[in-house]
Symmetry: C2
Subunit: 411 residues, 2 copies
């Protein structure tokens, strides 16, 4: 097969093609399809971090806190339109797991009669662990719904003991896109809150949190938002809930007058009450820059290219990889999938290793999933074509068989 | 007064004098005495952060997680000897407030019959807010002891309902150094655990956590450890307690097999069980470099110079500042104070502003405290002398009176 010409034609008319130059890509031949694990370095971020270190930290010393103190809420305001939130409903703080914990505790703690939490069996493990712990501590339990749940699946699990439904908007393995509006409405009808994990959605899927009146959300900034390794996470709390919910980690950054050093905790009336302690500024500058770059391109343009890339990839996978025992594990309908595509294959682990050695960086997810993540700001249609061609070659040639099987530690 | 000659003589024989060149100090004339709020940039940290961003993030992309994954425990092992812990008893993770919450919850949650927590009225407000929240959630309450408590003060507050005593080893305002050994032993005798906040001690005061069999500790890395703004905090859990205590934020980084993606949470048997989620790597590299620099100099040498500097400062303050209505608010006996000295003055706020404009960077703490922080790795005896001379001048000359009074927001 030769898909180069078809890819080149698509790249030539790609309105986002120019954004690739905004990133530091180590090798023009690298086909990096793991940006939904760690996005690459935006060039401006290198400069911004150097300025933060040299000018603000080294030069300004403690005086620079004047400009750092509200970085988390400023970056949150910049992120807000990308996820359909109002400017004062989002802040960067802590890590995703910590934010999920804070908001789940806040929601479940608000109504002792509803200690149970609904999630799906295939939600990201960290989310499951945390939600299970929160439910148990309040005398409830985690209720599982099937992977990639429908509104009906959730409806069957929610009753008057359920205080919270918490799902990932895009499944980290299958790439399935949940029904944000339908599930939120269903939960509200049943008297429960909804907490969305947007980690695999933010920066690629347009999310309409305020439009559907979602209660709570969290997500990371190092995938499609390209914030850098472990850059701080975000949290969203709908405006009218901010004063009503109390999170358990009563740190000074959540106090209404953090430098007043009052003897008692008096939480801020706004989104700041969900903050905890001193934010890791250098990493947070990376998050802020990554968010700014996405905001500059616009989420609708990013999403249009994302759907175009994944549609073509799925089409080519059916055409060229089905005969090599690959199966598309991602829902294929429009509006049913996020920004990555999962292919199932019995030899997924050695195939991922073989692809990486051929400069096609993809990820493995248990069991038997090769995960191709397409990030519209820097991925080219060339990458789509190359991923198909190299995948077909390592399997058809049998070269993947020279790679060891799955190590026991990654089961 | 002319203290220059006396300072120069001391600087000439200072065995740590060479370490100042390891830092990027923006101006040789700057007298920076706020390193216990934010330490300056070590030169190697600039390089290390640039390499992390350029070579590891931009170049290695997701593959660099191989070297980042255990950075928090490696940096913890490097920090361990500075605080008297064993190498596998310390890890970097989250922020101080979050770590305090995790460990306080773990300790109090372990014994429902002891929900009360003892702390002192002048502990750092964030600690007080968090401890109060933890105690209340378990049906207990916060019990206050006086500021800079003695063993007897603590003894009077501990009974069979107290599960935890949590104090700062060095008070953030007064600089008083608590009796680590005596209070730990007293609490143990009474059946309670002890959780020390080492934020104002780590990197300047030698701490003997293992020697006194302290249970738990937390602390920040951006003061005397010079990790950079908001660099991740550390936590310490005594080895034999690690398997016995469970922290509430059940994130995947605390799972025994974090990439196994098991359906249920199975906490690691070791210090990793107190981790939560993906660490902010760029900020953590700063913490690791700062810790390495302290470890290189050695905590005993740092402490010797610290005591020498603060002794001289206190002596000069009595001599030159007492007549200007300053009062030394820090305990003056050896073994009674940490690395900073607090002077009380009714006009502390405008004095701090006037000093900053004269390139003497100190901090204000309510009520009426001018806080002088001496960090032996870069501060000179010259800085001690200059702080006294400039402080005397702005008060004697009345120049501080041109600065506005305390704004209402900082009460």
């Amino acid at each position: 097969m030769d898909l180069a010409a078809a890819a080149a034609a698509r790249d030539a008319t790609d309105p986002l093609a120019g954004y690739r130059d905004r990133f530091s890509i180590p090798d023009p031949d690298l086909v990096y399809l793991d940006g939904n694990s760690l996005g690459p370095l935006p060039r401006r971020t290198r400069t911004a971090i150097a300025e933060t270190v040299d000018r603000e930290w080294a030069g300004g010393l403690v005086r620079s806190w004047d400009r750092w103190l509200d970085l988390g809420t400023r970056a949150g305001a910049l992120l807000a339109p990308l996820i359909g939130a109002r400017h004062d409903e989002v802040a960067l703080s802590d890590q995703t797991s910590v934010n999920l914990y804070k908001l789940a505790e806040a929601a479940v703690g608000a109504d002792p009669s509803r200690p149970d939490i609904v999630t799906d069996v295939d939600n990201f493990p960290s989310d499951r662990y945390i939600l299970d712990g929160v439910a148990r501590r309040h005398g409830g339990r985690l209720r599982d719904v099937p992977a990639d749940p429908t509104v009906d699946d959730v409806a069957a699990a929610v009753d008057e003991r359920v205080g919270l439904v918490s799902l990932s908007l895009v499944n980290y393995r299958s790439g399935a896109l949940a029904d944000l509006k339908g599930i939120t409405a269903l939960a509200h009808d049943a008297g429960a809150r909804v907490l969305w994990d947007l980690s695999h959605a933010a920066g690629v899927v347009p999310v309409d949190l305020a439009g559907v009146e979602a209660d709570l959300a969290v997500g990371c900034t190092y995938k499609y938002l390209n914030g850098g390794p472990g850059s701080p996470a975000f949290l969203y709390v709908r405006r009218d809930l901010q004063g009503a919910l109390t999170q358990p980690i009563a740190g000074w950054w959540g106090h209404d007058d953090m430098f007043g050093f009052e003897p008692g905790y008096r939480p801020a009336p706004d989104i700041r009450r969900f903050l905890t302690g001193t934010a890791p500024i250098v990493s947070m500058v990376g998050a802020a820059e990554g968010i700014a770059l996405c905001a500059d391109a616009g989420i609708e343009a990013i999403w249009a290219k994302s759907q175009s890339m994944t549609s073509w990839f799925i089409e080519l996978a059916h055409e060229h990889l089905a005969a090599l025992d690959f199966e598309v594990a991602t829902p294929t309908g429009a509006g049913r999938r996020g920004g990555h595509v999962a292919l199932r294959h019995d030899a997924a682990w050695p195939i991922v290793q073989a692809l990486r050695d051929r400069d096609v960086i993809v990820d493995f997810r248990h069991p038997g999933i090769v995960r191709y993540g397409f990030s519209p700001l820097y991925n080219r249609y060339h990458d789509v074509a190359a991923a198909i061609e190299v995948t077909a070659d390592v399997v058809a040639s049998g070269s993947y068989r020279t790679y060891p099987d799955l190590p026991a530690a990654v089961t």
